[in-house]
Amino acid sequence: MKIAVSGKGGSGKTTIAGTLARAFGRMGQRVLAIDADSNPNLATLLGMSREEAAGIVPLPRDLLQEETDASGNRILKLAMNPDAIAEAYGVKVPDNVTLLVGGKVDHAGSG
């Protein structure tokens, strides 16, 4: 199950995303929570302190590598498998949830 949560700033989307992630964990699932917001704050809503959250290392850009597929198209592939990425860069939060953070973007646009 792959769920994405959208909504305007202040709508409560991050609270809902974080709580759903931990709820699925409590139901016995292994859960990957992904913070794709350019102003990331899913960590605290998952139960981390602000200090812990501030220390999270965002995913490095070179995780995506360009390859050429069998038909000669250029495609982008992950340089490591998702479990290895979760192991290397993921932060464990309560209820069997691992958090990955995409990182801050300085020019977040008008969203």
Binding site: M1, K2, I3, A4, V5, S6, G7, K8, G10, S11, G12, K13, T14, T15, I16, A17, G18, T19, L20, R22, A23, F24, M27, Q29, R30, V31, L32, A33, I34, D35, A36, D37, S38, N41, T44, L45, G47, S49, R50, A53, L59, R61, L63, L64, L76, K77, L78, P82, D83, A86, P94, L100, G102, G103, V105, H107, A108, G109, S110, G111
Partner: protein, 154 residues
């Protein structure tokens, strides 16, 4: 679009696609930065709305964009619903615009307080009304969503 920005989106999109477990992704406030590739593996897009018109309009735009991006299923989650009239207005808007609503989370001062404190509402004892509905939503989603790869594809 700035390359580093799109690179991050690309990584997160691939992660969502390839991860062999439940993923819950907190998206950017606007979906404008998304590309088809980034979100094509999303099973369900939840669109969180508040009971006021601008928020509903945004939800409708997001819904249309989701369709363009190839997301098969998007569902509205009404949040901060204070009165039966709030809920009714959201349901009416959704119905008129062919949006499906899956949950209505009541306005809960304690949820907002947890948010303000930067805490998980699950670790903040006093949240009950709001949390109960989010937990119910999790149940519904889990029961409702066929596991990947065994879809009957209608």
């Amino acid at each position: 679009m700035c390359p580093s920005h799109s690179t991050v989106r690309g990584i997160l999109g691939e992660l969502m696609a390839e991860a062999d477990r439940v993923t819950v992704t907190d998206m950017d406030a606007g979906l404008e930065h998304l590309s088809r590739g980034t979100v094509k593996h999303v099973d369900i897009l939840l669109i969180v709305v508040e009971p006021y018109y601008r928020s509903l309009e945004t939800a409708f735009r997001t819904h249309n964009l989701a369709r363009e991006l190839g997301i098969e299923r998007d569902l509205v989650v009404a949040n901060k619903v204070r009165t039966p009239r709030d809920e009714e207005a959201i349901r009416e808007f959704c119905q008129r615009n062919h949006l499906n609503i899956i949950a209505a989370i009541p306005y809960d001062e304690q949820l907002i307080e947890a948010e303000r404190l930067g805490k998980s509402p699950l670790d903040h004892d006093a949240c009950d009304k709001g949390i109960a509905e989010i937990l119910r939503l999790a149940q519904v989603l889990q029961t409702d969503t066929p596991p990947p790869h065994v879809r009957t594809g209608t």
